[in-house]
Amino acid sequence: MKFAGIDIGSRSIELVVVEKGKIVKSIQEDTGFDPMAKARAMLREVPYDRIMATGYGRNLFEISFDAATVTEIKAYARGARELFPHARTVLDIGGQDTKAIALSENGKVKKFEMNDRCAAGTGKFLEIMARALGFTIEEFGTEALKAEKNLSINSMCTVFAESEVTTLIAKGESPLEIAKGLHMAVAKRSATMLKRVSLEDPLVFAGGVANNICMRHLLTGLLGRDILVPEYPQGVGALGAALLAGEA
């Protein structure tokens, strides 16, 4: 039997298919403006027996495809445990949400924290800031790591931070240092969320922002512990959903 998991996020859609516990297919596309059409196109090439949807588009998918759904929180928890069987804490920074999830010894979600309505401290925040400083999102982390001194950014709100960035540029601060300051602000916020759910090792860092090397570096420093990053961090939710589809 082939089990599919689809994670319809604000920025991208990931589709993972597992068979006998092994990943046999994994694809990713930008969400775009018509996520259901995108999902349909992605599924056309992929045969599966059962599917489970997660991500903010899950409810729409449930209606259009008559599929079961699961929250990102449970899906990420399941996916992270598959990749790191002893994981006790998961940090997922996605396009519009940040989630800190504490797992019990047997892998059940024990407690979680999630940002409220705004995109403060999420992938979207970093993306907008990268653009404001003239970096691509891919190079943002690597460039920020080159900064020599630490600049402190106080605003976490995307709108306020943008004006703070403008002020710093006007003051002649280097874009590299501003970039690092912005990363630090997100890292600190994530660390606070992790501490609120009571952080236990091993800690898995997943979601698209886990690809950012500066974020990984700063979080390791702030938390004073090793962080496990999956090879394909943004696919953890889809993987979890696929596994849960098989267990349903």
Partner: protein, 425 residues
């Protein structure tokens, strides 16, 4: 509306166009949230009727009462004793504060970062859409949180008949003395408004009327401990909300009638959700009509609400007033005793609230607690953190939610609620 109330609304000075808009939104919301529920008790038909006539027939009744010389008193808080109003030939009604209205206007008077409930009370006044507020002969404000206290200073210029009641913040003998003095001052104010002196008989009757209303709600609450839940949390919340608007005697009868029906349902093991549905206790800020957002999101995410630890709920209705006093003074003492037990978050410290949450979670067999705070509501937000910790230390899963009346965070809230409910399964 089943009758044409336009001229009545016009006489009350409502903005008819804006008011129509409000009623349309309210009607649609009610349809989507309440009438779409499955297997509702038949007795809810009464509450559907009350809601469909909430700005119509009920206002007409109040206007008729006024014609006969009764006075109408409006209130924003459960600390305003209905017993005293009734004893002096007045009717007490809760005032509208559960929806965003005329926000641009509101923000000329109160800062943006004010809780939705306070903003709403201004919105209904400034937008001229609350017939209750316009029908009142006296509006009672009360010094609970800082937001409300300061807001009444401003509201005074908009509402000419505003009366402000001071409230204690510490449960000490001095605090009790303050409440007692304020209740005597309120008694005199109401007597001078209605021209009727409160007697032992009238006060006892007032106490009995309100006790009967509370008893009916207690009966309803206890039936909710059954599994499967015989009534949805939304419908039970609605009964608790209508508590503040309806004719007390008719309300009591209607709630008791629903309870009779629920008892039969329970015997037949009939419920509104399956037995396996996770059960949650909702605790925190009051939910004034038509603030149904969070309960709606919870119950459409696969859980059932089995109790409300709220002013619009058990915090407001807990405890009856001892009616055995033989003098007005003795009955007033009993009233002070009863109200002084209300465990509002403005009190410091406020340990009773935590015990009540634990006790309710146990009584109603809740699998978890959802703590609801309005954004910028400092007292409940502050309490939510130690409460979360204490409940979790007692192995009661807890989710803290901070939100307002707007729907813009519904998607994120739903994810959090669904994840919490998954956790309870």
């Amino acid at each position: 509306m089943s009758e044409d109330y336009k001229s009545m609304w016009e006489k009350l000075g409502l903005d008819l166009e804006a008011h129509d808009m409000l009623l349309n939104v309210l009607g649609k919301g009610y349809q989507d949230i309440f009438l779409s529920q499955k297997d509702r008790p038949e007795g809810m038909g009464y509450f559907d009727f009350v809601m469909s006539e909430v700005h119509g027939l009920r206002i007409k009744e109040l206007m008729d009462e006024k014609d006969q010389g009764r006075k109408i008193i409006g209130s924003y808080c459960v600390f305003v004793p209905e017993e005293i109003a009734l004893a002096a030939n007045a009717t007490l009604v809760g005032l509208c504060a559960g929806a965003d209205f005329a926000m641009e206007e509101v923000e000329k008077y109160v800062p943006r970062n004010t809780c939705a409930l306070i903003k709403s009370s201004f919105g209904f006044k400034l937008g001229k859409v609350c017939p209750y507020l316009e029908a009142t002969d006296m509006v009672v404000g009360e010094n609970t949180c800082d937001g409300k206290k300061k807001a009444y200073e401003t509201l005074k210029d908009l509402v000419s008949n505003l009366y402000v009641m001071d409230l204690p913040q510490v449960k000490s003998p001095m605090g009790r003395e303050l409440l007692k003095k304020e209740y005597y001052r309120f008694k005199e104010a109401v007597e001078s408004l209605t021209g009727k002196t409160i007697t032992v008989e009238s006060l006892k009757q007032g106490i009995d009327t309100v006790n009967a209303k509370r008893k009916a709600i207690h009966r309803l609450s206890l039936l909710r401990k059954e599994n499967p839940a015989p009534i949805s949390g939304l419908d039970a919340l609605l009964a608790n909300q209508v508590f503040f608007y309806d004719n007390p005697k008719r309300f009591t009868e209607s709630v008791n009638k629903i309870c009779d029906e629920l008892e039969i349902r329970i015997q037949n093991k009939q419920g509104v959700f399956s037995e396996k549905t996770p059960r949650v206790l909702l605790s925190g800020c009051p939910m004034a009509v038509p603030n149904w957002k969070l309960p709606w999101l919870i119950e459409s995410s696969g859980a059932v609400i089995v109790g409300e630890e709220s002013c619009v709920g058990e915090r407001g209705t807990r405890n009856l007033t001892n009616d055995s006093g033989r003098t007005v003074e003795e009955l007033m003492e009993a009233l002070v005793d009863r109200y002084f037990k209300v465990d509002c978050a403005i009190f410091t410290p406020n340990p009773d609230r935590l015990s009540h949450i634990k006790e309710m979670a146990k009584t109603y067999r809740a699998d978890g607690v959802i703590h609801y705070s309005l954004q910028f509501c400092q007292p409940y937000l502050m309490e939510s953190m130690p409460i979360e910790k204490a409940l979790e230390d007692n192995n009661i899963p807890t989710l803290r939610i901070e939100t307002d009346y707007s729907m813009e965070d519904a998607g994120q809230l739903k994810t959090r609620l669904e994840a919490f409910i998954e956790q309870l399964k």
